[in-house]
């Protein structure tokens, strides 16, 4: 093996094999993996209505081992719990705001009555600190959708206020066309953690003041930057009011530059695994609740893209890469036809980094549970003729989690 071959072989080994833990096939790993997908939000029946309860709190989220951030979360999970209903169900969601910030919930892709759309000052007043709002709508259309906060959207969504909303139907057309054995939901996001921290602190400070002013009956359009009409705004400017976006009130700050990328609230090496067996078919619901495009690529397979924004495609597309833009949902079908451990990741490789360091971000894997024992052993280093590299290291295999390549 010459030097060039050595480097190629070494690189392949590290990128292809060394990214996932050795105990992938252990029952406890599979069990723990279930917690890496959104939990179902339970409901109670009240007449014709399915009633759900959501609340928002400020919590701490561990994106990757030893890396925590403050987040805004529905029911203290990121993403929020999955709401799963049948098409035509009457849905009632009690939303309680346990923070000192304003919030709403927008039901992304759902044909809600316009007063239920969750856009502050357009369809409703914001849900103020300590207050509750009840959303009511009929679950339609069928498909993969999501919900998210629509107040201070840039900050609040990055902070974790999003969750999946799945509208099922009994005669599911995808199930008919591709009888699948199990399904997964993956919610993507991207986070500029420095922006989050600084803006969240600033917003908390401002809201404490504004709430106090509201409580003492001193609503001030200029202080709150809220006007009833363009004419009122123009008049205020003529009288000396400076809008908050001008450089005499705000430095020309850069827009957020995400440096952490998550799937279901986790970055590699904490991202979930998609388990499959040979001959099985799985459905994966992909939701982009973040601000970045994700060019998702599956190694070793094509998949079928079967739904776009929840809408079943008349002709499923066979492909191995798709572009999941912000606000978009796709459903894909993966058939278990090529046994192995296959990387599933963003091919814009800036998004498979943690704080700029590869590997990280939304790197994850499709794992065949029935991979024979002998194929699970990654090439021992001595067989790779890598000389004395592993001598004295107490191991004869490469490590399985790489944090720096």
């Amino acid at each position: 093996m010459n030097r060039k071959e050595f480097l190629q072989f070494g690189t392949m080994g590290m990128t292809g094999m060394a990214l996932f833990p050795a105990n992938l096939f252990a029952e406890e790993t599979k069990k723990a993996n279930l917690d890496k997908f959104p939990s179902r939000l339970p409901y109670t029946k009240n007449g014709d209505w399915k009633e759900f309860h959501l609340s928002v709190n400020i919590t701490q989220q561990e994106l990757a081992p030893a890396m925590k951030i403050h987040t805004l979360t529905f029911n203290q999970t990121m993403p929020g719990p999955e709401i799963r209903v049948k098409e035509g169900d009457k849905v009632r969601v009690f939303f309680k705001n346990n923070t000192e910030l304003n919030h709403t919930i927008h039901w992304h892709g759902i044909y809600v009555p316009w007063r239920m759309d969750g856009v502050p000052y357009v369809t409703q007043m914001p849900v103020m600190p300590g207050k509750e709002f009840v959303y009511e709508f009929t679950a339609e259309p069928y498909g993969t959708h999501f919900y998210h906060c629509h107040w201070g959207t840039l900050l609040h969504m990055q902070s974790g206020m999003f969750g999946s909303l799945i509208v099922e139907k009994d005669d599911d057309p995808i199930k008919k066309a591709f009888p699948y054995d199990r399904e997964y939901t993956l919610v993507y996001s991207a986070h500029d953690v420095n922006f989050l921290r600084n803006e969240l602190n600033g917003m908390l400070e401002r809201m404490k003041e504004r709430m106090y002013m509201m409580q003492t009956g001193r609503f001030d359009p200029e202080w709150f930057n809220l006007f009833d009409s363009m004419e009122e705004l123009q008049k205020a400017i003529a009288n000396g009011y400076q809008p908050p976006y001008l450089v005499n009130r705000r430095a020309p700050a850069d827009l957020p530059e995400p440096n952490w990328f998550t799937v279901n609230g986790k970055s590699y090496p904490s991202t979930p695994y998609l388990y499959i067996k040979t001959g099985e078919t799985i459905r994966v619901r992909l939701i982009n609740a973040g601000t970045e495009n994700h060019h998702l690529h599956l190694h070793g397979h094509d998949f079928w893209m079967v739904c776009d924004d929840g809408v079943p495609l008349p002709q499923p597309w066979q492909r191995n890469t798709l572009s999941l833009s912000p606000g978009k949902t796709y459903d894909i079908i993966i058939e278990g036809t090529n046994r192995g451990i296959w990387t599933f990741h963003d091919h814009d490789t800036r998004r498979v980094t943690n704080n700029g360091l590869y590997p990280g971000g939304n790197l994850m894997a499709l794992v065949y549970e029935d991979l024979p024992e002998e194929e699970r052993v990654i090439q021992p280093m001595k067989k790779m003729k890598m000389g004395n590299m592993n001598k004295g290291k107490g191991r004869d295999m490469l490590p399985k989690i790489a944090l720096d390549e």
């Binding site: 420095n194 002013m213 001193r218």
Partner: protein
């Protein structure tokens, strides 16, 4: 040993260069330009006018997380002192290194001393120096910086976010022995401080505490710690009207200089600072905020100082000022100060002095390359400290 040191340095240097991975720290830039036109008048009616830019300064701080998740920081600061201060054109008021975590702070280097435990709304920090600071007994009074800054060694432990217990030792500037850097000050303080992010909506008490300072002087006729000059400080700040628009607070600080009982005159500055005395300063401040920012501030302060061993001698001071914000970071202001010195203090400082000041102040404080949160951010205070 010298060779070993050289090798160790070379090894670390090489490792850093090889990895190309030096962590770019947070960089904090602070700057303040205080420029005023002063008109001074004494009790005889003699007047003088000066352009004054003292107390203007630049601070540059670098801060990063350590492997243990503690934070390490270094700060360099330079200040333009009074023209007749004997400190030259530029005085390095901050050159220190600090290591801290949520509850502990170690600080080493040139920085502010624990000679004041409250803050007062005056144009410059030293405008009421003789009433607000425990004065440095090693100073000859040529400048104010001798009382405000020193080479310090401090440890602070913070209990329950608001209780600050500090022990400290200092090397105060000693002009009689300028090349000596031995520790000549010792003390400790215990303060209750409401974090700035929570100040406006806390009823009544904003700050309270006390401090004990001692200065290891060469008091004639005494030995050991009996030679030390000892001072006790107490401070209170009340939120009279905590409100985000119209905010009023009342601040007070009292100092008891136990002093040297054998000093019964104020013929020199040294006698002035070593003579037993009791003094205080108090201010009331009104802050008007608009669009979530300070817009206008006015305050009035009064201070008094008496000397128990010196007959019929005392001092008092009154300061009134107002500041108007012209734009972010930029203020226009006016300040009037009257100081009256009675008895022997009048012989030292003159009987009375008026000072009128018109000023423009530009202040900035910004962190570049932000990486982690401050101890007193609302997230860290109210939603769990993030290491």
């Amino acid at each position: 040993m010298k060779t070993f040191k050289y090798i160790l340095t070379a090894v670390f240097l090489g490792a850093t260069l090889l990895a190309q991975s030096q962590v770019l720290p947070e960089i904090e830039l602070g700057a303040k330009a205080v420029v005023s036109g002063n008109i001074n008048m004494d009790d005889a009616g003699a007047a003088s006018a000066v352009a004054d830019f003292s107390d203007s300064q630049i601070l540059l701080g670098f801060r990063q997380k350590l492997y243990s998740n503690w934070r390490g920081q270094m700060v360099f600061g330079m200040q333009f002192p009074d023209a007749d201060s004997d400190l030259g054109q530029v005085f390095f008021n901050h050159v220190f290194v600090q290591v801290e975590n949520q509850k502990n702070i170690f600080k080493l280097g040139r920085s502010t001393t624990q000679t004041i435990i409250n803050e007062f709304p005056t144009l410059r920090d030293d405008d009421a120096l003789y009433f607000t600071y425990a004065l440095n007994p090693f100073s000859v009074g040529a400048n104010t910086q001798d009382n405000q800054y020193g080479n310090v060694l401090e440890y602070t432990h913070i209990f329950d976010q608001r209780y600050w217990f500090t022990i400290h030792a200092e090397n105060y500037a000693d002009l009689s022995n300028p090349t000596s850097f031995k520790l000549n000050g010792l003390g400790g303080s215990f303060l209750y401080i409401v974090p700035e992010t929570q100040v406006w909506n806390r009823n009544i008490l904003q700050r309270a505490g006390f401090s004990y300072n001692s200065y290891l002087t060469d008091r004639p006729g005494y030995t050991g710690y009996a030679q030390a000059l000892k001072e006790m400080l107490g401070a209170l700040t009340f939120n009279v009207h905590p409100d985000p628009v119209n905010f009023v607070d009342l601040r007070i600080q009292g100092i008891y200089n136990i002093g040297f009982s054998e000093i019964d005159s104020l013929n020199t500055y040294e006698e002035y600072v070593r003579s037993p005395s009791v003094y205080f300063y108090s201010s009331v401040r009104y802050l008007r905020r608009k669009l979530e920012r300070p817009k206008f501030q006015t305050s009035a302060g009064f201070g008094y100082r008496s000397f128990s061993q010196v007959d019929a001698s005392n001092q008092w001071i009154g300061i009134f000022n107002m500041f108007y914000r012209l734009g972010e970071n930029f203020d226009f202001g006016f300040q009037y100060r009257y100081q009256h010195n009675k008895g022997q203090s009048g012989l030292l400082f003159g009987n009375a002095a008026h000072r009128f000041q018109l000023t423009l102040v530009y202040t900035i404080d910004h962190v570049f390359n932000s990486q982690f949160d401050d101890r007193n951010s609302l997230l860290n205070l109210e939603h769990g400290y993030m290491k």
